[in-house]
Amino acid sequence: MIAEIGHFSLILALAVALVQAVLPMVGAARNNAAWMATAAPTALVQLACIATAFGCLMTAFVTSDFTVANVMQNSNSLQPMIYKVSATWGNHEGSMVLWVLILAVFGAMVAAFGRNLPPSLKARVLSVQSMTGVGFLLFILLTSNPFERVIPAPLDGRDLNPLLQDPGLAFHPPMLYVGYVGFSMAFSFAIAALIEGKVDAAWARWVRPWTLVAWSFLTAGIGLGAWWAYYELGWGGWWYWDPVENASFMPWLVGTALLHSSIIVEKRDALKTWTILLAILTFSLSLIGTFLVRSGVLTSVHAFATDPERGVFILLLLVVAIGGSLVLYAWRAPLLKGGGLFAPISREGALVLNNLLLTTAAATVFIGTLYPLFLEAFDGGKVSVGPPFFNATFVPLMIPLVLALGVGPMLGWKRGDLAGAIARLKFAFVFTLVVTIVAAYLSWGRSIFGVLGLTLAGWLAGCVLTEFGARIGLFRMEIRDVLRRMTGLPRGAWGMTIAHLGFAITVAGASGASLWQDEVIENLRAGETLSIVGYDFTLRNVDTVQGPNYTAQRGVFTVRRDGVVITTLAPERRRYIVTGTETTEAALYSQWHADLYAVIGQGGGQDGGKESWTVRLYFKPLVPWLWAGTLLMVFGGFVSLSDRRLRIGAPTARRAAHPVSPTVQPAE
């Protein structure tokens, strides 16, 4: 019964979405206020329907209703409850319902909170949002129905893929989707603007919060995925340039560019057509990512069960959505009148450089990810494009980006003084030098590229701190005034400072994690000790433990440094009962500057009569900085989001008529 209600809710949602897609759009074209006003209520009803469907699916999982095929394939009575819940979205069909749910949530939020949007813009935005919804609801109902029954019902289910039975991975998809799918709102705004034929500072101000939300969650989602890979997959890698990872990274790169270029639209009324294009491209990359993951055209560890029929449907969706929007762009974008002039060396110029580098980086990832496909289509052979390619092409682009990111905020709008800016960055130069020396000393003997990475990170951090200090008048004014300026700073400025600092720390973490790690592998018997970088791991014993749906070999290690016990680590090697799959659960000990990482492998070896196990120990410097930096970036995004100016909304028509001057608007 619940499954049928869920199914019906989806069909109802489709009907409502169709209404929402057509009526407000026609109403806006004809200036019919009543029809335009249908946008908000239909958006809310659509959310209610899809939320009901999602709730029904989750109920089916929670109650272990194995008559529902999806539950049977992805759950099991022995599975812990949290994974029964997360199994709702841990499969293709369920995750598509999550997809449209988030699409509807964003639509409903604009409906509810977009009070100061002009009615025609609001109508068009919600209409476009709903068109995307129609496409995906059709996809679900026609090819990926999660509510199909299986008769006769089996006694038990097939169990969720053991790799997904993990807290980190339970939350990774929802966060990723809020990001991924959240960029649909920027897309809808862009299309609406093209239809209206108008992009102005107000538009940029309205788009900003939605872009910030999506960006922050996408950053969190990607970080969570990387963190999960790090502790779960057993070799301490955190980014593999896997096609599906790249599919989420490309929207992030272009989304970051979008975030920055929309600032120029808002402040300087320039770069409009470029920003609109970025908004379309960001969501297009999300859609292409959805296609790549679910169609089977690329091999990947992450890929869902592949089915070419689904692939064809999604490709059609792509052609309509992306093709349609780019046709609209080619037709209407030339009408958008450009605005403010600025010199190449200026704050705007720096932001343009930022955009240039980020989009080139995204193009690089795009080329690398899709090249095997392109070559094969030509029958040009089969090649692999793996990490060596991306490390050689992507990383060099990041160097000028980080350098420019430091200098940019120090430049003035419209016409900047580069020499002056660099002169004011004296502290940053000194800071960078100190960081380089310390890094070189501590990492003596290891890869020198790591030092380069830390130099860049130090440069950026130094610049961010200098800019912040200059802004609050540090060392220039009385402490009282400094504190007053600090508390009076707009949240947007805080957000920028925190996020850029987070980025610097992430760069440092990435350098250390990729280039400076230590590894030892050995066969150990109980009682023996293995050492790495001054830490002694003594294997006390290996027990067999029983989990809810698995049995495991658990090795217990006492970790000492200079004879003092620091911690106990207990890595496991699990075997899941239903599928027979084996996973390794690494044991981690995080300090502020590095991680200790222990893995226990196969046992069964005999060494002088006693059983021995393969033990792997890793010393991973600066890995915690990866996570800390990412968290800071996400936090910075949310701080920016809480800026009052975004909630109050754009300036009214009266005030917007006045020219924007540097002294009236607080710079950002």
Partner: protein, 176 residues
């Protein structure tokens, strides 16, 4: 000129979409052989059974044959076995076996249970010869021509339809 700038993204997307469409018709997980039209690698494998000869490079000349990579632990190999038995019975094409990464006793027991369609069987417990052939899983089937060249490789279990579609025309061609 500036119009072109605005149309460029659309054109780029059209190209990408076309590639996606073509990509949907291909199978991303099958690795094509690097040895097509090249001579069979140099190897010499001991026999699996005392009653049947082993396999070496020199044995793969003068006739169009199938070389089938199999193992007793391989589930899809079981699925394709009836077809191999039938091909051997009807003398459609000689079938040579290469037992890949398997224990002698297990393989012999497996053949005793399911039947033995092979004219010769080479035993490759280490899998090294398999690597020389570019084997990455079982079952795989290779078509060898009279000059000892590999002309076709099929990955995965063979079924009557696949054999009729993919192998028969080639076999007829090579026998002319």
């Amino acid at each position: 000129m500036s119009r072109l700038v605005f149309i460029a993204p659309l054109i780029l997307f059209a190209v990408v979409a076309a590639y996606f469409a073509i990509g949907l018709t291909k199978n991303a997980s099958i690795l094509p052989s690097a040895l097509i039209d090249k001579p069979v690698p140099t190897f010499d494998l001991p026999p699996l059974k005392d009653t049947k000869p082993g396999l070496a490079t020199a044995d793969l000349k003068d006739d169009v044959v199938l070389v089938n990579m199999f193992a007793s632990w391989c589930v899809p190999c079981r699925a394709e076995h009836p077809l191999l038995m039938q091909l051997a019975r009807d003398k459609i094409v000689p079938i040579i076996g290469l037992n890949w990464k398997d224990r002698k006793s297990d393989a012999i027991a497996w053949l005793d249970e399911l039947g033995d369609p092979y004219a010769r069987i080479g035993h490759d417990p280490s899998g090294r010869t398999g690597i020389d052939w570019g084997v990455y899983g079982v079952p795989e089937t290779y078509l060898i021509d009279r000059d000892g060249r590999i002309r076709f490789k099929y990955v995965g279990p063979m079924f009557p339809e696949t054999f009729a579609e993919k192998f028969l025309p080639l076999i007829k061609d090579l026998r002319k």
